[in-house]
Subunit: 414 residues, 2 copies
Amino acid sequence: MLRQLLPRCAPRAAAAFVAPRRAPLGLFQAARQYSITPEAASEAKIQDIDPSQLVLQKTTTPKPLKKSSDLVFGRNFTDHMLTIEWNQTTGWQKPHIVPYQNLSLDPATCVFHYAFECFEGMKAYKDKAGQVRLFRPDKNMARFNKSSARIALPNFNSNAMIELIAKFTKLESRFIPEERGYSLYLRPTMIGTQKTLGVGAPGSALLFVIASPVGPYYPTGFKAISLEATNYAVRAWPGGVGDKKLGANYAPCIVPQREAVSRGYQQNLWLFGEEEFVTEVGTMNFFVAIRNKETGQKELITAPLDGTILEGVTRDSVLSLARERLAPEGWNIVERKYTMQEMDEAANEGRLIEAFGAGTAAIVSPVRSIGWKGKEVHCGLKDHEESGEIATKMKAWMEARQYGDDEHEWSYVC
Amino acid sequence: MLRQLLPRCAPRAAAAFVAPRRAPLGLFQAARQYSITPEAASEAKIQDIDPSQLVLQKTTTPKPLKKSSDLVFGRNFTDHMLTIEWNQTTGWQKPHIVPYQNLSLDPATCVFHYAFECFEGMKAYKDKAGQVRLFRPDKNMARFNKSSARIALPNFNSNAMIELIAKFTKLESRFIPEERGYSLYLRPTMIGTQKTLGVGAPGSALLFVIASPVGPYYPTGFKAISLEATNYAVRAWPGGVGDKKLGANYAPCIVPQREAVSRGYQQNLWLFGEEEFVTEVGTMNFFVAIRNKETGQKELITAPLDGTILEGVTRDSVLSLARERLAPEGWNIVERKYTMQEMDEAANEGRLIEAFGAGTAAIVSPVRSIGWKGKEVHCGLKDHEESGEIATKMKAWMEARQYGDDEHEWSYVC
């Protein structure tokens, strides 16, 4: 039995959920209950996401644009949000684009207690012709579905969702700055909304997408970072969920990250096991370029997708570009386990060429050194250098495809 | 800089957060913004929780009581909730008891994205004299503080929080049924409320307590359950957070639990490592009584607190009672690693006396058998038995202290 939601079009409930964030004092709106009772039976035909049913409710109070130079990652959001509710009885409901606003949730809602939540991080870019482009949204949606399935949240048709995100992004395109390096960060999120403390699969969920205009990660050019290798805490484990983009993988990472920062590092590098395998950086995958000890061949190495590594879209793109453009120059592109010891040895023998993180936020993030067992493992940069050759090339190659200069199937024109 | 919250006592914002769940249609209230901007500096003196500042706002629409027999775990809640906001600038704010109602949160709030959430599960009991009693609340608050610290959420003074929970529980005492086996389940929860997508320590948080009247786990006496041993997925690992009561530990457990249920089991039993160490049941710690192969001595065994086991209050109470009352009878009470293989061998040799789960919900939950590697490991119960001797005794001993029949320091009279 579905709990009756306040009708969306009722005179005083028009704007859904709750009072908008920036509502003038005195303007109050109805709480929209984002959950169903657990009795909901799954008898009826389950509906997938249907973009043709999109309901658009535009804001009447558009936000002023911020100066591009004032943009801070994930702090300011556009005028609207995309929302789609799901319940186990009828499936995905009509998609809505509504003014950006608070969610109103019962305190017993399962997202607050059992971390029924997963998300994606992706960006929209404005090309020279003013067109809005997404970058490999199919990869994000595929991962989103894998993440949600792993925590008993619903799946959906990827193409339908990409179509909706494209419509939403076009609607918000005035928020995407024209300058190179700027973009609109998109945050598709799915949360369980069932309101019972019983531990079980949520009978209802909410998928929402919010968008935040962001500037370049390195506004004045690359700035190499230093990492602290973390061996006292473990991010992920075989048989665990470290390869999924779940909220559950993030909160436990903050204390080790803060520890690293307290000792003067920018982020931490997660090691695994007694062997101290290198896995990934705080919020990025990790690549290292090493000259092979036996053959002398240059190798670009990253950890394999063994279930403990986030399946990064940037990681995949870097590997793909490397195979296309570095392999012909004699590079060996390798996904394999490698250890901190191996990196240290290469550094000591002058074979460590460079290292960088790879993720949506920074694209690539050059690494100067890694603190490990009381010493600094230097990653090949000279003192005056902020990036190695491969990182520099990768960023240019990636951006050319993201901004549509290098027309490619990875770029999705909205 | 703190975002200005809507003043609590403003004419139309009186009931905090949002429209109450059961508000008559047409009555709308202000959204209370549960987060601050991340710039908040931590310069001022940080305030701890202060029970003397409690602000009580009673409901004007008390709920009718449900028939005791109709109570379902965690589905119906009392009239009020206890809330305390925290921010990094000024610390813990005035505690409030307000009518049970929805939370209004910005969709960028960090609890939705990075699982900044932890909780406790505890119960309040009504004794023969009508007094309300908590059971070992100091243990719950100590664990709550350990959980919150592990995910960069704030700590608080345990005694102050117990005092507030006691006041809240007394206020709601009409919801605690008089019958033995019934109680009021209390759910203290802490969530990060900062609204930015940057991954970092939350600058603001909300601690809330909600309460749900519950019936006995086994209304008609014990019913032994069957478990499926899970070796294809891993709940916790060394260096991880499996010993903390974080939301992050729960969502990833649902799919394996559902798998077990799909094959006819009630819950799953988490094994760890190639050795297949027995760790814990889906939502309980696990005990097994075995006759020692060499000495013939009876042993009550549970996994040690090595960081991969939830530090259960019931687990601790069972161990304590066993040391007090079983050890003098010749039992050896042991916290050590043990394997599924070892249990299977004991079962085959007739040395497995009984097994049971231990947790707040059921106190003890007798186990009939465990599905493992395609066979059933029988845990000592005869076909007509639903509980072993130790489980039966433990439940009685525990309840005697919970309901105050056996006056003991574990019982906290509100």
